[in-house]
């Protein structure tokens, strides 16, 4: 409960991706309007998603300036391709975050690959120190719910999923880091996500 803090301005209570159906529909509607050139609608879409988009980019790329660049590119892509969002394939927030994730992974694998690989990956996979991040990271009800779902993963599943999703490593690299066969890392990532999906009730 000590993680719970008021949601700042601009972030609607109850996140659209995790929250109620109407929130999700509202976001999808904003995207549809964006596809027709409605900049104000896209501004509202931005306000409802920017913390997650920027936070994800920052978590993977780590450098705030680079995170901002990646997030900006992702939003411009989202604007450009907003008419191509297909609600049958998932939520509008999920769609955006998929774009952000792919962009940030491309970034770390190309431009920053050399410097980032020099660091010890274990520094980044130790459990997050609350004191260090509490000020920066918003703790919403949705975040609590997701953390609860993540806690249902086995340790090895969580480790593999985090290295893949937040570390931006390929499953082959994950396998090497964890000293397990390639097939094992691949399976842990999948099994971990399936458990996460089921725990969060996504897609059912």
């Amino acid at each position: 409960v000590d993680h719970l803090r008021p949601v700042p301005d601009g972030e609607p209570i109850g996140s659209p991706s995790g929250g109620s159906r109407s929130d999700a529909e509202a976001l999808a509607d904003l995207l549809a309007r964006s596809g027709r050139g409605d900049e104000a609608a896209f501004g509202a879409f931005y306000d409802a998603t920017s913390s997650r988009a920027y936070g994800l980019a920052l978590r993977v790329v780590r450098n705030p300036a680079h995170a901002e660049e990646v997030a900006q590119e992702a939003y411009l892509d989202a604007w450009r391709s907003s008419s191509r969002y297909d609600a049958r394939l998932g939520s509008a927030a999920g769609w955006l975050l998929t774009i952000v994730h792919r962009k940030v992974v491309d970034r770390v694998r190309s431009v920053e690959a050399s410097t980032r690989r020099d660091e010890n990956w274990q520094q980044h996979t130790r459990p997050v120190d609350h004191d260090e991040t509490a000020e920066a990271v918003e703790a919403s009800l949705d975040a609590q719910r997701v953390r609860g779902a993540v806690a249902t993963l086995t340790d090895v599943q969580r480790e593999a999923v985090e290295l893949a999703y937040f570390g931006g490593y390929t499953h082959t690299e994950v396998a090497t880091m964890l000293h397990v066969p390639v097939g094992t890392a691949k399976t842990r990532i999948r099994d971990g996500l399936i458990r996460l999906r089921d725990s969060l009730g996504v897609g059912s």
């Binding site: 920017s50 936070g55 998932g90 691949k186 399936i194 999906r197 969060l200």
Partner: protein
């Protein structure tokens, strides 16, 4: 490609972008035909995106300003036109003949193909128009020419498993007029020899030199020359420095007429 249960298990890695370019291309080819994997990828992407709740961080004001300024200068893309609207629908009752324009297969391809396709476990298919990326990344300034082809909305591809010799995927974009080959675990060319790439001319079936490959098992090479109309990409083993026309039978032929 190994057994099919193995490729199904790549859904999680694919959904988290934990794949390299070649794996992505191959898996997207698999997605084309695997309904279960498509559904699972959509769900796992959604689940993975929820992880971003735990790292939400207020974005700097400058980001909002630059995004809103940026979009005012960019026109949203039109919606995707359903593929059925672009092509004549194949006539009913000819399932064996899966919509391949007969004229698009010069006999020269046929001469080359049996060698290989018989000798090799060939897995040929196409991505066609669909893209499993949920967005259209068409900002050409950021990406290399090879990436431009790989990410082109009209990218189509042919994958070949060369057995012990490795695996290779050819991706062609008619809009970009270029083709790219990506190899994985490719055995090096024999001493004093080099792998040479060829584009097959649609008119007379002749082979046009399209560049040499490095001795690197995993590489992505942009083929030289116009690829929009080429009917096949071939690889031959040539003397160092390459040849003006193939001097040996190809070790691999990618039939681009099969790619859509």
């Amino acid at each position: 490609m190994t057994d099919s249960s193995d490729i199904h298990r790549l859904t999680g890695a694919y959904a988290t972008d934990a794949v390299d370019d070649l794996e992505r291309a191959r898996f997207e080819q698999h997605l084309e035909t695997c309904v279960d994997c498509r559904a699972e990828v959509a769900e796992l992407r959604e689940a993975a995106a929820r992880l971003a709740e735990t790292t939400a961080t207020p974005a700097p004001d400058s980001l909002r300003a630059s995004v809103l300024t940026g979009i005012s200068q960019v026109r949203p893309l039109p919606p995707v036109v359903p593929p059925g609207a672009r092509h004549a629908v194949p006539s009913e009752g000819h399932d064996d003949d899966v919509a391949l324009p007969p004229a698009a297969r010069p006999s020269a391809v046929r001469r080359w193909t049996p060698l290989l396709v018989a000798a090799v476990l060939a897995l040929v298919g196409g991505i066609g128009l669909s893209s499993w990326q949920p967005w259209a990344d068409d900002d050409p300034s950021r990406i290399s020419a090879a990436e431009q082809v790989l990410e082109a909305p009209d990218a189509e591809e042919v994958f070949l498993d060369l057995g012990e010799a490795g695996r290779a995927t050819v991706v062609r974009s008619r809009a970009e007029d270029r083709a790219v080959i990506a190899t994985e675990d490719m055995v090096p060319a024999p001493e004093g020899r080099v792998y040479q790439l060829w584009l097959q001319d649609p008119e007379d079936g002749s082979m046009i030199p399209a560049g040499l490959m490095e001795d690197d098992p995993d590489q992505t090479v942009l083929l030289e020359g116009s690829a929009a109309e080429a009917v096949a990409v071939g690889i031959t083993v040539e003397p160092d420095g390459g040849s003006e026309e193939p001097t040996t039978e190809p070790i691999a032929v990618f039939d681009l007429t099969e790619a859509t």
